[in-house]
């Protein structure tokens, strides 16, 4: 994949510089024009609107599911229909495959609200990257990944302190079984990896995946547009290739959207699990 991309950019570069028609996507893709409340902390642009839309849709879908669950409980009609079954599958994916698997039933259910929220926010915001008309992920700007990473950070520290008190920091920074002089080396590394790199990598992994995915798609499809309509002769056929790339990457982005949601949630769970564990 890397080599094809390098190849693609190599092919596009002279074309882009030579002719006037092709514009390579830039990082400004992620800073679209402000549409409302300009200059205030509530400044709205396209990406913020997409986030609000996704929030609305998530609330709508889960509201319907939630009502269905409540109705089922009240009427004693316990055989789920297809719609309810799908809701159960979605929620049970986080509950069983992630939370219970890593934390056990008791602690898994304790931290389930955060894990469920993270999973469905990330999944919902990621998937807009390939929804026609939206075409950009709500998680492709640092704010949301950062807030989610912060929530994960606060939660795993809370989990550790709640269970072990201040010994949590001692266990984390001064791992048992290491000869005292080595702490000069080990403690800064542990501090960096546990308290700095964990949240940073959580946020950056997600955001960079979404940025890269979006730029790739824009690159592929704007190149296709350019080859088909602005180029001459043999270059037109290049458009078929770039379109195929774009199509394949769209499918790939579906996988990435799900995978990143899974990875973010799973890592949060693992960090909580490590905080709860007796020995580090």
């Amino acid at each position: 994949m890397l080599s094809t991309l390098t190849l693609l950019s190599a092919v596009l570069k002279p074309v882009a510089e030579g002719e006037g028609g092709f514009e390579a996507p830039t990082i400004n893709e992620f800073y679209p024009e402000v549409v409302a409340f300009g200059g205030t902390p509530l400044e709205l642009n396209r990406i913020m609107l997409i986030r609000l839309l996704v929030t609305g849709l998530l609330i709508l879908v889960f509201w319907l599911w939630s009502n269905r669950f409540r109705k089922s409980t009240q009427t004693g009609q316990f055989v789920p229909g297809r719609f309810q079954m799908f809701g159960e599958m979605s929620l049970n994916f986080v509950r069983k495959s992630i939370a219970h698997e890593q934390l056990g039933e008791k602690d898994g259910d304790r931290f389930l609200p955060l894990l469920t929220t993270i999973f469905f926010i990330v999944l919902g915001m990621n998937i807009t990257g390939i929804i026609p008309g939206l075409n950009i992920a709500g998680t492709s700007v640092i704010g949301l990944p950062l807030i989610l990473a912060l929530a994960a950070y606060v939660t795993f520290i809370y989990a550790g302190v709640r269970k072990h008190g201040l010994r949590f920091f001692k266990n984390a920074l001064f791992p048992a079984g290491v000869p005292a002089p080595f702490y000069i080396l080990v403690t800064p590394i542990e501090f960096l990896s546990t308290f700095i790199l964990r949240p940073v990598t959580l946020a950056l992994r997600l955001m960079m995946n979404m940025i890269a995915g979006h730029l790739l798609l824009v690159l592929c499809f704007s190149a296709t547009q350019y080859f088909f309509f602005n180029s001459e002769g043999i270059f037109k056929t290049f458009g078929v290739g770039t379109f195929t790339f774009g199509f394949v990457f769209t499918l790939f982005e579906m996988l990435v959207a799900f995978l990143q949601a899974y990875v973010f949630t799973l890592l949060t769970t693992v960090y909580i699990q490590l905080s709860l564990a007796d020995e580090h």
Binding site: L5, P25, T55
Partner: protein, 180 residues
């Protein structure tokens, strides 16, 4: 991927994707808070309640089914016992009836035999009595006939006295002989 991104970032304006804008953070926090509260206090409690209730219902229904099965088994056993008992009873009744029938038949036969004997006896006595009375009646009639004959003979042959008494004697002697 890096060369592409690097190339893109080199050519683009100075926007740094790692530095969050205030509005970005605000909206992200709002979205996260809303959804966290929503999942925490609305979706997950309903979901958990439903799943727990279902588990309970399934367990309850399994217990009920087991109970029903046990009851059905008990009923079947009862029915079978009843059937066996009624078969037994039927056999007993039939046997009793057979014995009674045999007894009755013997009694009837005996009674009939006795009856027949009695009737034969009665008939014999009747016949004997009839014979007796017939002999008596016949004798009386024969006597009167004889007297009649005798008187007519007496009337006709009053003159020949000797021969008349001889005829009467002879007649009576013959009659006696024939009677025996």
């Amino acid at each position: 991927m890096t060369p592409v991104i690097h190339e893109i970032m080199r050519t683009s304006a100075a926007a740094n994707p790692l530095v969050p804008a205030t509005a970005d953070l605000v909206w992200s926090a709002v979205v996260f808070a809303i959804l966290l509260v929503f999942f925490w206090f609305k979706v997950l409690p309903n979901f958990k309640k439903n799943i727990d209730a279902r588990t309970e219902a399934i367990e309850g229904r399994l217990a009920l089914a087991e109970k029903a099965q046990a009851e059905a088994a008990a009923k079947t056993a009862n029915i079978e016992a009843d059937q066996a008992a009624s078969r037994q009873e039927r056999a007993e009744i039939i046997n009793a009836a057979r014995a009674e029938a045999a007894q009755v038949s013997v009694e009837i036969t005996e009674a009939a035999r006795l009856n027949a004997e009695r009737m034969i006896e009665t008939a014999k006595k009747q016949i004997e009595a009839d014979t007796q009375s017939a002999v008596i009646a016949l004798r009386a009639e024969v006597g009167s006939l004889a007297l009649e004959l005798a008187s007519s003979v007496v009337k006709n042959n009053l003159k020949e006295d000797k021969s008349a008494s001889a005829i009467v004697d002879g007649f009576l002697a013959d009659l006696e002989k024939e009677g025996k």
